[in-house]
């Protein structure tokens, strides 16, 4: 086991670094393809962050885009205005979104089900509207000219660490506790588990991951805009998680990649037809909605989820 771990710790970053050289070479892969591949990684982290609070812990959040926005704006602000290097900016984004998650989590996690969903939805909108009204963050024009620090390497390394950490956590006692809260909150309480404490922990951790994805996103697209973190983004994140299989961690990662890739395929199809192409956003949303319905009815456990035991 030890030897295997050492090989993984050295091997994964090294191979990512090698692939990075290959993939970032414009004569081999077009910037368009690279763009999609990197966004797939970022969305995978987002989907995992949502799965951690909603799939694993069972607390349905629809405000993930809000935490992503906090991560994106806070890191971009530092690198843009204060020329802070990338890594400290990412750490700052992680910490700030974690703090936001902690503060939002304490009062809202006493709520259950629908109420929690509404509260997190409200939070996401508050973040967006607040940014819209902050001139120092660019307001409605957003922040432009953010240095492009993200790369295939940094995004996929972050994804690998995220996956490894979440999966390891899931096999440990704290992970089991989170699963038990999802299964039956009252029974967990009877085991002597401080349910609210663990829910706040899961929420904080999930917010930090979304913030990480936001920071990577801002430094890849070089531009952040309040509209990028709207309610629709949160819904898209949920779609990724449900499609991949809630509660499995790796499922939503794959779901995040597929949901990034599918619209591109869809675009290729739509380009054949001018009428559809004019309404491509509409067609895309319709397609997502049908996909979500299809999965919820025919395969609620997602692509990788375990089938629920009957009875």
């Amino acid at each position: 086991m030890r030897a295997k771990n050492i090989i993984l710790v050295i091997g994964i970053p090294f191979s990512l670094w090698l692939i990075n050289h290959f993939i970032s070479n414009p004569s081999i892969f077009s910037p368009y393809i690279l763009q999609i591949i990197v966004l797939m990684g970022i969305n995978a982290i987002l989907a995992v962050s949502w799965d951690f609070i909603s799939g694993v812990t069972g607390q349905f959040s629809i405000g993930q885009a809000g935490f992503m926005a906090i991560g994106a704006y806070s890191s971009a602000f530092l690198t843009l205005k204060y020329k802070v290097p990338f890594l400290p900016a990412i750490l700052f984004a992680l910490i700030l979104s974690a703090i936001a998650g902690f503060i939002v989590g304490i009062p809202t996690l006493r709520l259950r089900g629908d109420y929690l969903a509404i509260a997190t939805l409200g939070f996401g909108e508050i973040v967006r509207v607040a940014i819209l009204n902050m001139p120092s963050l660019g307001g409605a024009t957003g922040l432009k000219g953010i240095p492009i620090y993200s790369s295939f390497f940094s995004v996929y390394l972050a994804l690998a660490i995220t996956l490894w950490f979440c999966l390891a956590l899931l096999k440990s006692q704290p992970g089991r506790i989170l699963l038990s809260i999802r299964e039956d909150e009252i029974a967990s309480q009877m085991m002597g588990i401080d349910v609210v404490k663990y829910k706040v922990f899961a929420f904080t951790f999930s917010a930090a991951l979304a913030g990480l994805a936001g920071a990577l996103y801002a430094h890849w697209t070089s531009l952040v805009h309040p509209d990028s973190f709207s309610f629709m983004k949160s819904i898209e994140i949920i779609l990724m998680g449900v499609l991949g299989g809630m509660g499995t961690i790796y499922g939503p990662a794959v779901g995040g990649m597929l949901i990034t890739l599918l619209p591109e395929g869809l675009r290729l199809l739509l380009e054949q037809n001018p009428l559809l192409y004019q309404n491509k956003d509409f067609v895309r949303m319709l397609f997502f909605a049908i996909l979500l319905l299809f999965f919820i009815i025919l395969r609620p456990q997602g692509i990788f989820g375990k089938r629920e035991a009957k009875g």
């Binding site: 699963l179 009877m190 002597g192 588990i193 035991a309």
Partner: protein, 233 residues
């Protein structure tokens, strides 16, 4: 060992327990009987900490635990087997047991051995999802999970609920074994008064939130009121 002194418990504005006083002695099985809605489950919830009384005090081993949080009570040795079993269905049997023992992490190995000697069937089912167990096995798992925290007082809420008569006998046999061999004091709430009084040392009868009768199991069995209302003649 456990003493309730004049507790009043409410669900919002509805009073569920009225001035309830009750004592469970060290080492005994105490059966709390009563019809639906008499306040049996509410009493257990007040003891385990899921509900806090508006009036009165609860003492456990001579310490006031009335306002202690649930987790603190579990650490002190009060463990509840909830009504309807409530196992974590999508987790394995092993994970359920590990969760039960999370307040006593250092003793997990030892406690697992104890559980397996008591319920050998659970050892064969370790990797199975708890939701796929039969009703009787789930009840065993629910009891085993509660035992993982090394309770001194075990609260059992309707252990016979939804089980076939033969399984009910098995479960009550296990309850007696836990009491006799592991020395765990037991407070059991039951509608099946006949079964409960067979293994209990003492018991009480709740009616509309009040304790109207108390006595040894033999005394209760022979009381007209208990006979007519709860033992079927």
């Amino acid at each position: 060992m456990l003493k309730l002194e004049g507790i009043d418990v409410y669900y919002d504005s509805i009073q569920a327990l009225r001035n309830l006083s009750l004592e469970v002695r060290e080492g005994e099985i105490y059966a709390l009987l009563g019809a639906n809605g008499a306040g049996k489950t509410t009493t257990l919830k007040a003891i385990s900490g899921l509900l806090i009384p508006r009036k009165g005090r609860i003492y456990f081993q001579n310490e006031d635990i009335t306002f202690l949080p649930i987790e603190e009570r579990v650490k002190r040795g009060i463990s509840q087997v909830p009504e309807g079993r409530r196992v974590f269905g999508k987790l394995t049997v092993e994970e359920n047991l590990l969760l039960g023992g999370w307040t006593k992490e250092r003793e997990i190995k030892k406690n697992l051995e104890i559980i397996f000697s008591l319920f050998p069937v659970l050892k064969q089912r370790l990797r199975q999802l708890a939701g796929t167990l039969s009703g009787g096995e789930q009840q065993m798992l629910s009891i085993a999970r509660a035992l993982m925290s090394e309770p001194r007082l075990l609260l059992l809420d309707e252990p016979s609920l939804g089980l076939a008569p033969l399984l009910v006998r098995d479960i009550f046999h296990y309850i007696r074994e836990i009491n006799e061999e592991r020395g765990v004091t037991i407070l059991v709430v039951e509608q099946n008064a006949h079964m409960a009084l067979q293994i209990a040392h003492r018991g009480g009868l709740l009616q509309q939130g009040e304790l109207i009768l108390e006595g040894s199991a033999d005394e209760l069995k022979n009381m007209e009121l208990v006979k007519s209302a709860y033992l079927g003649g």
